[in-house]
Symmetry: C2
Subunit: 385 residues, 2 copies
C-alpha cells in the first residue's frame, strides 16, 4: 500500500474498509482529443477519518466549457497538475474547472462550512468532472443554497445552472465593466462585439444594472429583429450589425446617441478580433480602452496606427483566471454581487442543456457533453442522487 | 489701420516708422500640397515698443519634419490656429513646429531671458518657418547657447542642429523608455523595430546611457553588417533583421540573450506596424507593453488574440505632442537630460542637410526642404545673418 495524499484511497484498497465513498472522476494522462484520452477513474474517499480541516462534497453539476476542452487538448495555458492521488498508475490530471458541489461532511475544525452548503472551487484546475471530492475548507467558496436564500428573505435561490456556471462568464462580464475604466452611470457607454454570446448577454445585463449605456454588435441574420429585441430587453441600449460597425457613415449615428447622454464611449469589449475589433475600437472616444477576451473570428486584433497615436487608444487583454488568481478578495466581492442579482431575479443566466448522470461511465457522459458543446452549453447534472 | 495683436504690424505700415524689423514667415490659408498652398508673408516687428513681457527672437534654424508637411496637408490632428496677425487679408496659419531662435531684445519685465540666449518654442504650432518672431517669455524655453555651456564648464555646447531638432525625436525616445515601464538597468530589455530610423537611433543611445539592454530590428540590406555595427556602436545590444523578427525559431535566441542578463523584455517600440509589430510584440515577456509611435509600413498594428488574453499584453500609443501638452514640467526635465547628454558628448544627433537662407523668398526655401525631405532631414539655417 502506498501513502495516500488528502485521504483519497484508490478503489483497490476500499474493499477492506466500510463506509467509504465510491467516487468517479474523469482524467487524462496525456493531452489529446477528449475522445482519445479521457477515462473514468474510480476512487474511494474515507469520510470516516477526516482531518480537522477536511471537507467531503458531492457534485451537483458541472458544465463542459470550451476552455475545459482546450485544456485536455493541451492548447490552454492554464493546466491542472498531474497527480497520483486518484490511484492511477501514471500521473493523471482531472478535467473541468467550473461546477457546484454540496457539502456531505466536514472535519471537526471546519467552522465556515456545514453539511448541505453549496460550494464552488476556490481556484481553477480543481477538477469538477467528478462525482465527489475531498478537499480542505480553503479549497471551496460557499454560495447560498436555495433554503438559505429563502431563510434570508431573498426573492429566490440560485438554480443549479446559475451556481455551476457562476465563475467564468458572469464574472468576466462584471469585471470587464468595472475593474478597468470608470464609466459614469447614465452618461458613458461601452461597445461590444459578440453581443449575442453568453458573456455578451451578461455584459448587456450588468451594464443595465449599473446604468451604463451599451452598444452590442451582432452578425446579421434572418431573425435579426427578434434577436435585437431580445438583447434590448436584456439591457443593451442599442444593437447594431457588423455591417453597421464596419461602416464609416454609421459613426455619425453613434455620435448622436452618445451626445444625447452627455457621455463618452470609453470601453470596448472584443471577443471576435479582425475587422470587428477595429470597428468597435474606432467607435471609442479619445483615451478609450479595448479589452480582448476572445477571438471567435480566429483573426488577430487589427488596429489602425492613427488610433494609437492620435486618439491615445489602448488595447489590453482580459482573462478572468489570471486576474482572480492574484486577487481572492476581488473574486469574493464579485461573486457576492452576482449572487445578489441572481437572488433578486435581476440577472438571467445563460441556458444550458442538462445531461443527467445515470450512474454509468462518467467519461462517456462528459464526452457526450463535449460532442454536443457546439450546439450550446452542456451541463452534467447529478440531481437524482 | 487695424489693431495689431502682439505688436506685429503688417509691412505696409512699416514705411512710416523706423527701426522696425522686417520679417518673413511661411504661411498657408487653406490645406493642400505645400507647393500649392505655401506663401511668404512679410511683416514688421516693432522692437522699439515692446511690452514688458515681450521677447523678440531671430531664427537660427528650423527643420522640415514629416508632421509639418502633414499639418499643411490637413491630415495631422494637431493644427495651428489661423490668424490675421501676420497682416494677411484672410486668416492664415504658420508652418513648422521645431526650431531654435536667438533672443534679440526683451521687454523690461523679462528676467528669465536675455539677449543672446537660445530658445525653442514652449508649445507646438508656434510657427518656426520664419525669420523672426515676437512673443512673450512664456512662449519660449531657454537652452544653453555654446558660450553659456563653455562658461558652465561643459565639454561642448549644443550644435545648431541639436538645438533645432531637440523637441521631437530625442524626447520621444527618452520618454518612451522612461515614462511607462520601469526597466531594471543591467537586466531588462526593450525591443524596437525601425532600429535605423532617427528615433530608433536615439532610443538605442538613450537605452545604453540608462543601461537598458535593447534589440533593434532593421530591414535586411546589402550593407547589413555595416549598419548592424553602426547601431551597436551607438548602443543597441543586439541588432536583428525583420526576417529574424518574423521567425518563430529565432525566439529561442532572444530568450537565451535575455536569460543571460536575468531580466525580461518588458517594452516594445513600434514605428512600423503590420507583421513587424506582431513580431516584436511576440518577443515580450508576460505583462509587456508595446508603444506605437509610427506606422511606416502603412499596415495596421496586428496582434494575435492569445497575446492579449494569455500573456496580458498591452498595446498603447505614444505621441510626444499630446503627452507634453499636459505636462510642462516633464518637458523641461526631459529637455534638461537631453541637453546634459549633448553637452557631455554622450548623445549623437541625427544628421541633417542644411539649406542656408539667402534672403530671398522663404516659402521657396522651405519648399526645397519639403521636396528633399525624402532624402533625409532638411534643416533651414540662418547662420549668415
Amino acid at each position: 500500500m502506498f501513502t495516500i495524499k488528502r485521504s483519497i484511497a484508490p478503489l483497490t484498497s476500499s474493499i477492506f474498509k466500510r463506509n467509504m465513498i465510491t467516487a468517479q472522476a474523469v482524467l487524462y494522462t496525456e493531452h489529446g482529443e477528449p475522445s482519445d484520452v479521457l477515462f473514468t477513474q474510480k476512487f474511494s474517499i474515507d469520510d470516516d477519518n477526516l482531518k480537522s480541516d477536511q471537507v467531503v462534497v458531492k457534485t451537483l453539476a458541472s458544465p463542459v466549457n470550451p476552455s475545459d476542452i482546450n485544456q485536455i487538448q493541451g492548447v490552454y495555458p492554464s493546466k491542472p497538475e498531474k497527480t497520483l492521488e486518484f490511484g492511477t498508475e501514471k500521473p493523471a490530471a482531472p478535467c473541468g474547472n467550473e461546477g457546484v458541489f454540496q457539502v456531505l461532511k466536514v472535519g471537526n475544525g471546519v467552522s465556515d462550512l456545514a453539511v448541505g452548503d453549496w460550494v464552488i472551487p476556490s481556484e481553477v484546475n480543481f477538477g469538477t468532472w467528478r462525482t465527489h471530492a475531498l478537499g480542505t475548507s480553503s479549497d471551496f467558496i460557499k454560495l447560498p443554497n436555495p433554503e438559505q436564500s429563502k431563510a434570508n428573505g431573498k426573492k429566490q435561490g440560485l438554480s443549479i445552472n446559475q451556481a455551476a456556471t457562476i465563475s467564468v462568464n458572469p464574472l468576466t462580464a462584471y469585471l470587464m465593466l468595472t475593474h478597468y475604466v470608470k464609466l459614469i452611470p447614465g452618461k458613458d457607454w461601452f461597445i461590444q462585439n459578440g453581443g449575442n454570446s453568453a458573456v455578451g448577454k451578461y455584459a448587456s445585463q450588468v451594464g443595465k444594472l449599473l446604468n451604463f449605456n451599451s452598444i452590442s454588435v451582432i452578425r446579421d441574420r434572418p431573425n435579426l429583429d427578434e434577436v435585437k429585441k431580445e438583447l434590448q430587453e436584456l439591457g443593451a441600449t442599442q444593437v447594431i450589425t457588423e455591417e453597421d460597425n464596419a461602416s464609416k457613415e454609421f459613426g455619425g449615428q453613434i455620435k448622436s446617441w452618445v451626445k444625447e447622454t452627455g457621455g463618452e464611449v470609453k470601453l470596448a469589449l472584443n471577443c471576435v478580433g479582425g475587422k470587428s475589433s477595429s470597428g468597435i475600437a474606432r467607435k471609442l472616444n479619445a483615451n478609450g480602452l479595448m479589452l480582448t477576451y476572445g477571438g471567435m473570428s480566429k483573426q488577430p486584433v487589427t488596429i489602425p496606427t492613427s488610433l494609437y497615436i492620435f486618439k491615445n487608444f489602448t488595447s489590453a487583454g482580459f482573462w478572468v483566471t489570471e486576474l482572480l488568481k492574484k486577487n481572492h478578495d476581488l473574486k469574493l466581492k464579485t461573486l457576492n454581487q452576482v449572487v445578489e442579482w441572481y437572488e433578486n431575479g435581476e440577472l438571467k443566466d445563460a441556458p444550458s442543456t442538462h445531461i443527467e448522470f445515470d450512474g454509468n461511465d462518467l467519461a462517456k457522459l462528459y464526452q457526450q457533453g463535449v460532442d454536443d458543446s457546439k450546439k450550446g452549453k452542456q451541463l452534467i447534472t447529478y440531481s437524482s442522487r
